[in-house]
């Protein structure tokens, strides 16, 4: 018997089973597939959301999109203003700011410790980083400020003992308090705390900021110097193209994208990826077993029908393929319904009521690539889950099958 004939009969039987099968059973099967698919998407999307959030925090508060630093033993970048101007004129760059390390020790009362004190130009810094928009006390620096400093929560403590870094912080510093800063060259200067920020990402909260003008006034050596230039690109993913353009003009500095600088969060994102992989595997196993059980129960009821089909001469291949086709269609519809359920209900719901993680609110962040992969995997698992019991049934003794 030609394989084509078996396929033709399989399609004939499969189509009839789909269009004329028990509506309730079909609806339940599709609903089950849809829920399995939505569930398959949910946890990985949540973890991806947490990873995105973490990387976003890193980019917006610590590394920016691209960090430009001196090469070799140089401590500062030569002619930084020209590089900043060129960067701002480069296509794909949304903002650029220059910083210089101005001090390294801060004290308040009897408490003292080392934290980097960066001199920044407030406007361009606020255009490049989100930190100035995350003030929990006071406000960020203005260009005209002098003798004022902004502290991260990990430095100030702000009287919040529940903060993980509280014990190592100044513990009880608030906006308006005065702190002493040891500047480069050993000069001690007292600053008024203008504001305290909390960037969610604990590593980003360990920095203090003063204005470039103040730094130049107090430490003339720092005037016109830069220890790092940070760029924000228009779009995430454009970084390497921007680096390539800038490197042609200024090859004498080191360019690093946020991805290469994310070592501080690599362990966390690596753990997230591992958890995602494990949950994905478990979800797929659950999906496969569930589909197998559903198909098996369906087949128990269809065993006699299969026996009759065999008795009248229908090939086992035609019977098996007809069930595989039926499952394929149900799985495909389930994927479509599950996708609609996920994007139409779960994503908006979690967006309006996000999960609160230590690094802030986290929404679902599904990716098209994962959706396509999960859809394909679900359909393949469903077809295999259907074929196994069907193949077992078509191989039973014919009379046993006919008698059900």
């Amino acid at each position: 018997m030609a394989a084509g004939t078996s396929m033709r009969v399989a399609v004939f039987l499969g189509r009839r089973a789909i269009t004329r099968g028990n509506r309730g059973v079909i609806a339940l099967t599709v609903a089950l597939m849809a829920v399995i698919f939505a569930q398959l998407m949910f946890i990985p999307s949540l973890i991806q959301g947490a990873t995105d959030r973490l990387q976003n925090e890193l980019r917006e508060n610590l590394t920016s999109s691209i960090a430009i630093t001196p090469t070799g033993s140089d401590l500062t970048i030569a002619n930084p203003s020209a590089l900043v101007a060129r960067a701002r004129a480069t296509p794909g760059v949304a903002a650029a700011t220059s910083t210089v390390l101005a001090g390294s020790q801060i004290s308040h009362g009897s408490r003292v410790s080392s934290w980097p004190v960066l001199a920044v130009e407030p406007r361009s810094f606020a255009a490049t980083f989100a930190t100035p928009h995350k003030m929990i006390e006071g406000t960020f620096l203005d260009p005209g400020d002098s003798d004022e400093i902004v502290l991260g929560l990990a430095i100030a403590g702000a009287g919040r003992p529940n903060v993980a870094t509280y014990r190592s912080s100044l513990q009880n510093v608030h906006a308006g308090d005065r702190v002493a800063v040891t500047l480069l060259g050993g000069t001690l200067h007292v600053f008024t705390v203008k504001g305290i920020y909390d960037a969610s990402l604990s590593q980003a909260n360990t920095r203090a900021f003063i204005t470039s003008a103040t730094a130049a006034r107090l430490v003339p050596l720092l005037a016109g110097r830069s220890s790092a230039i940070y760029l924000r690109t228009d779009h995430v993913g454009d970084e390497q193209a921007v680096v390539d353009r800038l490197r042609r003009a200024r090859p004498d500095v080191r360019y690093e994208t946020w991805e290469s600088l994310r070592s501080t969060v690599r362990d966390v994102t690596g753990s997230f990826d591992l958890i995602k992989s494990i949950l994905n595997t478990v979800s797929l196993l659950v999906a496969a077993i569930t589909i197998f059980i559903v198909t098996y129960v369906d087949l128990v009821n269809k065993r006699r029908t299969i026996g009759i089909e065999r008795a009248i001469g229908i090939t086992s291949a035609a019977i098996a393929v007809s069930y595989a086709l039926k499952t394929l269609v149900f799985a495909a519809i389930g994927v479509v319904v599950g996708t609609a359920l996920f994007y139409g209900a779960a994503v908006p719901l979690v967006r309006s009521h996000p999960f609160v993680f230590p690094l802030g609110p986290v929404s679902l962040s599904p990716t098209g690539q994962e959706l396509r992969r999960d859809a394909l995997v679900l359909v393949v698992v469903a077809v295999i889950g259907a074929l196994l019991p069907v193949w077992r049934t078509v191989r039973t003794r014919l009379l046993d099958a006919i008698w059900g």
Binding site: M1, V9, R20, R304, I308, A311, I312, G313, I314, T315
Partner: protein, 237 residues
């Protein structure tokens, strides 16, 4: 009687059965359902297999319909020994040369009457148009042309059994087997199904073997085979 001869020696046998045995289990628990059964059925004959419950009637029909494999003996269909064929060949024979009607109608519930009938024709590789034409003709012959588009659940028992008969005949088999075809039917439906079998035998010349426990059905057959405890107990006449 160990061996019976065909009633008309001029006609070639559609079916030849030689020393057929079927034993279930082994040793002390072995059940000998068929013992040394031998007979020929000429082409175009209509034979009723009769006997008490448990005499081996259905077991015999299942061996002949290639739904089961005998423990010993030989079965020849149109002169070809089919006893030990591989399942693939047996399936092809069931599809193309044999028809089988079950007691419980055994129609596929998701197909209409017409689709149930033409499904085996599709399986032989015939076109859908040709297959449908055959189904339409058979359903008309069995007075079911107005029920062609109905599904089994919308048909009476007698109508379902006549659809099953049409399905068994769609590939023009050499032999049609019917296992208690009226076992689940009321008196009126029984008469219509039995009459349909007689007419098909006369009009199409198809060889028919049917099993019945109803003594009244003997009148529909040209010949009878009596079974008792798995053996032929009366002459084939």
């Amino acid at each position: 009687m160990d061996e019976v001869a065909a009633s008309d020696p001029d006609r070639a046998p559609a079916l030849e059965v030689h020393s057929l045995c079927r034993t279930y289990g082994s040793g002390d628990v072995a059940v000998h359902a068929l013992r040394d059964v031998t007979f020929d059925v000429p082409a175009g004959d209509m034979v009723c297999i009769v006997g008490k419950s448990g005499s081996g009637k259905s077991t015999l029909l299942r061996q002949l319909g290639l739904l089961d494999t005998p423990t010993a003996g030989r079965i020849l269909i149109e002169g070809t020994d089919v006893t030990r064929l591989a399942e693939r060949r047996r399936r092809a024979l069931r599809l193309e040369r044999l028809g089988y009607v079950f007691q419980e109608y055994a129609l596929l519930p998701e197909l209409t009457a017409e689709e149930n009938v033409y499904l085996p024709a599709l399986m032989t590789g015939r076109s859908k148009r040709d297959s449908r034409a055959r189904a339409t003709a058979l359903l008309a012959m069995l007075d079911l042309d107005d029920r062609a588009g109905h599904r089994p659940s919308e048909l009476s028992g007698g109508q379902q059994q006549r659809v099953a008969i049409a399905r068994a005949l769609v590939n023009e088999p050499a032999v049609l087997f019917a296992d208690e075809p009226t076992g689940n039917l009321d008196t009126a439906s029984t008469a219509s199904v039995m009459q349909a079998l007689v007419e098909l035998n006369e009009q199409l010349g198809v060889t028919i073997l049917f099993v019945s426990h109803d003594p009244d059905h003997r009148r529909y057959a040209k010949h009878l085979i009596y079974l008792r405890d798995g053996r032929l107990s009366e002459p084939y006449f």
